[in-house]
């Protein structure tokens, strides 16, 4: 998983976010998205109880009682607000987060996501993943195209435990951007110079290709 691939994915997701949106960023690639927003202002919600999360503070300003959901020190933007966990998940589950950008272990061709558990491994953590999947108005999956062992992450049917019946709206990988429209998965954009055939080979899921003149290529 090269840094340039991660940056490519983060940049492409950043483009998708709209000025003024309320955004919750999952662990991994999503956390670097704020570095690529240029002048666009979005408001970051952190499920441990903060709206208006700002950048990492300098060393002398670090306070471990002002942290992100990944337990990293953060700062607060002007107009930020603090609240308890029940109010934070009221926001999340109640549909008040415009966009959640999450990593995934698998996504299937209907958009169903698996992002909390690996079969056969000890499952001792779920955190806020299922709440975000259930509640965010739009769910964008930001993920490498293949898993570390080279197997497809975008699959016909989930073999990993589902995070919920609510489907993703979009997937961004280092190779391509997919959207889900009426339950079907469409390739809408190429982000690398591989062929669509090569993409199909590394994608277990069936996907449709948006009409050529509407699709962007790298």
């Amino acid at each position: 998983m090269s840094l340039s691939d991660r940056i490519k994915i983060a940049k492409r997701v950043a483009k998708e976010l709209k000025e003024g949106e309320i955004v919750n960023l999952g662990v991994g690639i999503p956390t670097i998205i704020p570095d690529y927003l240029d002048d666009k202002k979005v408001y970051l919600q952190s499920e441990n109880g903060l709206l208006g999360m700002g950048p990492t503070p300098c060393d002398e300003d670090i306070d471990m009682d002002l942290i992100s959901a990944s337990k990293k020190p953060v700062s607060m933007d002007p107009g930020a607000s603090l609240f308890d966990s029940s109010d934070s998940f009221l926001m999340i589950r109640g549909g008040h987060i415009d966009t959640a950008v999450l990593g995934a272990l698998q996504v299937d061709e209907s958009g169903e996501v698996a992002n909390w558990a690996v079969p056969g491994e000890t499952i001792l953590g779920v955190g806020g993943a299922m709440d975000l999947v259930a509640g965010a108005r739009r769910m964008i999956i930001a993920s490498m195209h293949l898993s570390k062992d080279g197997s497809p992450k975008i699959v016909k049917k989930l073999s990993f435990p589902s995070s919920g019946t609510r489907k993703a709206d979009m997937i961004v990988t280092e190779h391509a951007v997919f959207k889900f429209l009426e339950g079907k998965m469409y390739l809408i954009e190429m982000l690398s110079d591989i062929s669509i055939e090569a993409l199909r080979e590394m994608t277990d899921a069936e996907f449709h290709v948006l009409e050529k003149n509407k699709m962007k290529t790298n």
Binding site: M64, L124, A134, T165
Partner: protein, 228 residues
């Protein structure tokens, strides 16, 4: 004034076998002093409801390695390898619950609500065996309210009545836990006169708080470290 206790004296309100609600998200907003007292006490067989089990050797992580825990219920234990180990050896029961469901269930426990229907987790492994209900075309699962015998929470300051305010994101689960246990013990950095907080500023009104103890840790470089 609300009864101020030495941390050691607070232990009389906790019994072996009790279910404890313990505030904190990782180590932030965790009652570290009360946990240390528990580690040194004779209490065991405890069930802890808390988002995490602290970190390895810190916070609730200490209570775990001291062998005081029978069961942990919370949302995320993976990062504490001691917890994973204890679970693998069958020395610790673990019940996983989505973070938002946990917060809501504890709030309901404090609110006289018996249970509720949430969208979170519907159709997943964590919903297995749970009642489903379709409301306005959407599928929800039933979750029962959560209550504890004792809540040990961490706030920034108490006033002499027991009103509490919290430090930034150290608030997390503490305010809901303060509502949902028979006995509530708040660990605070400082006690100020009643009337020092504006009525709008109070996060936990004093009627929720039974006892107050003073935190024995000091903050250095932005994190609490043992004072000795």
């Amino acid at each position: 004034m609300k009864k101020q206790l030495n941390p050691a004296d607070a232990m009389q309100y906790i019994k072996s076998g009790d279910t404890l609600l313990v505030g904190g998200f990782g180590l932030s907003g965790t009652p570290l002093t009360l946990i240390d007292e528990l580690v040194n006490s004779d209490k065991d067989n405890l069930t802890v409801i808390s988002n995490n089990l602290g970190e390895e050797g810190k916070g609730l992580g200490k209570l775990l390695v001291a062998g005081k825990l029978k069961k942990a219920k919370g949302s995320y234990f993976t990062t504490n390898r001691d917890a994973v180990k204890a679970w693998s050896k069958g020395e610790l029961e673990i019940e996983l619950i989505p973070q938002g469901t946990m917060a809501e269930a504890i709030r309901c426990g404090g609110a006289g609500i018996g249970g509720f229907y949430t969208k979170t987790g519907a159709g997943t492994k964590l919903a297995e065996g749970k009642e489903e209900k379709v409301i306005d075309g959407e599928t929800y699962i039933f979750e029962k309210a959560i209550k504890g015998d004792v809540a040990i929470i961490k706030a920034l300051k108490a006033d002499t009545l027991g009103n509490l305010i919290y430090d930034k994101t150290a608030r997390n689960f503490n305010p809901v836990m303060a509502t949902a246990a028979k006995v509530v013990i708040a660990e605070v950095d400082e006690i100020v006169e009643a009337g020092s907080f504006a009525p709008e500023e109070v996060v936990t009104p004093h009627l929720y708080v039974d006892y107050v103890v003073i935190n024995q840790y000091v903050k250095k470089g932005g994190r609490y470290v043992e004072s000795i």
